[in-house]
């Protein structure tokens, strides 16, 4: 679950409300002193801009990396919004007269700062509006497109910002008169906050009513902070630069820039902790399974080897009795009898293994296979994300129940999912898709298919796939599919494999449906 797709819980909603309340409270506290001018505070603009620029660039970078994974166009647009806002902050800061003077640059026209600010004010909510509209659109297909889109977006924003700046600097005479000689805002400026506030209002409605994710909630807080900023700037402080109200607006703007960053960083930290925890747990579980399987296979090997050894020795002895100068048929007969007996004994061992997987009838229950699949996939969500594997399911909603041992069937699904993920680890071109489907068959069977887009089944191995101790994994034991098949046979089911198109493999297993009670059986009994 990511901030971009997980719904906010009650605490998060309350927290967001609390933040907005604190912001509003602070505005009311500042309001009486809003028009007091803080003399000599102009150079602080550079420090402020550096902070905003850094924060927005880091946020944009995090959003772009999120886009690389999720490939949602909405996230890309949001990243563009932050890039735009961050880039625009640079010419804005550089247009302040004292800053220009301290850097030794030619002084820009009087309307420059306000014009850039207006472009930034109006531009950002437009991008956020695009984000709100795009939230429900589908994913961009994976592949080379994604990095190209990221690089292209960054470049396009940089070009647009440079173009806007250049246009403003080059057409001083055409700029609207936003400020008068006394550095006070004119009535022309008032269009900017009014348009921006209208956009903010639309966004608040869109995100407030239709927002579904934690990210939407964060953006709601951001817009509230920006609204307060704009109100302080344009109305409460009457646009007086470097006044208390103006500076308070800057702080709100900085706070707004930081909200998403803080949330994304917090998520990254908690994600990596969760990933480490679940990786460790998975490793432990895997080692446990390996130890059990190793002990199990050692025991089986010994149990089979003893009768095998005595069969071979008996056969040799029989041959030698017959090869004597006077063949001893009685001894040879005895040896053959013993071979038959040993063969039956080995057969009993195999039978014993089979029943080990089926004898616990009391452990069997009516299983909802779809629920089982969801439970197993939940356990593998973090691993899939780490391996850049996209998980897809197509579960038949009308799947009948299946009678079986829950732990064992889960083990089979987990085994097939692990195999599928492992098969895709070396895939560098093309998508990594894990697709699990469940289907009810008319023959009274439930079929589960686990498909991957991995390396596929090499034809050379096709017939050895289900043989014990056959593996293509460097650290594999080669018993997973064997054990899975044994379990399924004990359940009256089957396991088989086929090729996936265009690449990869599909493993299918079928289980007979549980005997369904005859309809109206209860009524009739009454």
């Amino acid at each position: 679950m990511l901030v971009s797709n997980s719904p906010p819980n009650r605490e998060q909603k309350l927290f967001a409300l609390g933040v907005v309340a604190v912001l509003l409270g602070a505005m009311l506290l500042v309001a009486p002193f809003a028009r007091n001018r803080l003399e000599g505070s102009e150079p602080m603009v550079l420090a402020y801009t550096a902070a905003v620029f850094t924060t927005e660039m880091i946020t944009a970078a995090l959003l772009l990396s999120l886009f690389a994974v999720q490939r949602s166009p909405a996230i890309l647009v949001l990243a563009i919004a932050y890039l735009y806002s961050g880039f625009m902050a640079v010419p804005w800061a550089l247009s302040f007269p004292t800053v220009v003077a301290s850097l030794g640059l030619a002084e820009a026209g009087q309307q420059t700062t306000a014009s850039i600010a207006a472009m930034r004010r109006i531009g950002c909510p437009l991008f956020l509006l695009a984000y709100a509209m795009l939230r429900r659109s589908g994913e961009v297909p994976a592949g080379r497109m994604v990095p190209a889109m990221i690089v292209g977006s960054v470049a396009a924003v940089a070009v647009v910002v440079a173009g806007v700046t250049w246009t403003i600097l080059g057409n001083q005479d055409l700029l609207p008169v936003f400020v008068d000689e006394g550095r006070r805002i004119t009535h022309v400026w008032m269009y900017v906050p009014i348009v921006a506030l209208a956009l903010y209002a639309v966004l608040i409605v869109l995100l407030g009513l239709f927002g579904r994710s934690v990210l939407d909630l964060c953006l709601l807080v951001v817009i509230c902070a920006l609204t307060i900023d704009l109100v302080l700037l344009s109305f409460v402080s009457a646009g007086l630069q470097f006044s208390v109200g103006w500076w308070a607006g800057r702080l709100y703007s900085l706070a707004a820039a930081s909200v998403v960053l803080i949330v994304l960083l917090a998520e990254a930290a908690s994600l990596s902790a969760r990933l480490a925890r679940s990786a460790a747990a998975e490793r432990r579980a895997h080692e446990d399974r390996m130890v059990t399987l190793q002990a199990f296979s050692a025991a089986v090997a010994h149990e089979i080897n003893q009768p095998l050894a005595s069969m071979v020795t008996n056969a040799d002895a029989g041959l030698r009795w017959l090869a004597r100068e006077r063949p001893d048929v009685e001894e040879a007969r005895a040896a053959l009898t013993r071979i038959a007996r040993d063969g039956h004994r080995a057969g009993k061992v195999v039978e014993g293994i089979r029943t080990t997987f089926s004898k616990r009838d009391e452990d069997r229950g009516q299983l909802n296979i779809n629920q089982l699949i969801r439970d197993v996939l939940d356990c593998y969500r973090d691993e899939c994300r780490a391996a850049h594997v996209v998980m897809q399911t197509e579960l038949d909603p009308d799947l009948p129940l299946v009678s079986g041992n829950r732990v064992q069937i889960e083990q089979i699904i987990a085994n097939l999912v692990t195999n599928a993920i492992d098969a895709m680890r070396t895939v560098t071109d093309g998508e990594r898709v894990l697709r699990v489907t469940s289907t009810a068959m008319s023959a009274g069977e439930v079929v589960v298919s686990v498909a991957d887009s991995g390396i596929g089944l090499p034809p050379a191995h096709a017939d050895r796939l289900f043989q014990p101790f056959f593996t293509t994994k460097p650290n594999g034991l080669g018993v997973g599919l064997t054990v899975s098949r044994l379990i399924l046979e004990a359940h009256g089911g089957r396991l088989w494999a086929s090729d996936n198109a265009p690449a990869g493999a599909i493993f299918h297993f079928a289980l007979p449906c549980a005997a369904r009670p005859a309809p109206f059986a209860e009524e009739r009994a009454r």
């Binding site: 005595s310 071979v312 020795t313 040993d342």
Partner: protein, 207 residues
């Protein structure tokens, strides 16, 4: 004297198969389920020529433990080990302790028969040597104290004259003793007597 192949394996089927295989080539075989049953025949094991076919993993005392115990008890029966799951350290330990062979089940019958053959040959040879030494010792024991002194000095290469001086005897008397030693030890020549003295002293009991 016939030699006996003793088998210890806890698996009855394997035991029976081994017995049949060894009997088919004419061996006399006795099979046991565990080392405790085998050790009840400790006396016969010491007396009879033979060898031991031993499963490494046994209930109770393991095959390797039995190998150590028999060696400590002076029962020098050669041992052929068989095992269901041979691992290298175990086979190295067994071979270092003097095992003839270490076979992993299922083994080729010829490998086992060859190993048993070698073991029996070794034991027969060892027992023949021991018997000969015992006979020699008996002859040596029949010598008088003076004759033993003379024999030691003769074997050391001294001349009759020197021996006479050393033992303060007349040279004629030494010659008589010397002839007596040669007769009692059944030595046909001086070099043969020297070899006998060497073997007796190597055994730690003679000269």
């Amino acid at each position: 004297m016939t030699s006996v192949v003793f088998i210890v394996d806890d698996d009855q089927a394997v035991r029976e198969a081994l017995q049949s295989l060894l009997r088919s080539v004419g061996h006399v075989v006795e099979a046991f389920e565990c080392t405790r049953d085998l050790l009840e025949h400790r006396q016969r094991m010491a007396e009879l020529a033979g060898c031991l076919v031993l499963d490494v993993r046994l209930p109770g005392q393991s095959g390797l433990d039995l190998q150590r115990q028999l060696a400590a008890d002076g029962i020098l029966l050669p041992i052929v080990f068989i095992t269901g799951h041979g691992d290298v350290p175990m086979s190295v330990a067994a071979m270092k302790a003097g095992a003839i062979e270490f076979l992993t089940k299922p083994f080729r019958d010829q490998d086992l028969l060859d190993a048993v053959h070698r073991a029996l040959e070794l034991d027969t040879g060892r027992r023949a040597a021991a018997t000969a030494l015992a006979a020699l010792q008996a002859r040596f024991d029949s010598l008088t104290a003076r004759e033993r002194e003379v024999m030691a000095l003769v074997a050391a290469g001294q001349l009759n004259k020197q021996i006479a001086a050393e033992l303060e005897l007349a040279e004629v008397t030494v010659k008589v003793h010397r002839a007596q030693v040669m007769a009692k030890m059944q030595a046909r020549s001086l070099p043969e007597l020297v070899r006998m003295a060497d073997r007796l002293s190597a055994d730690g009991r003679g000269g």
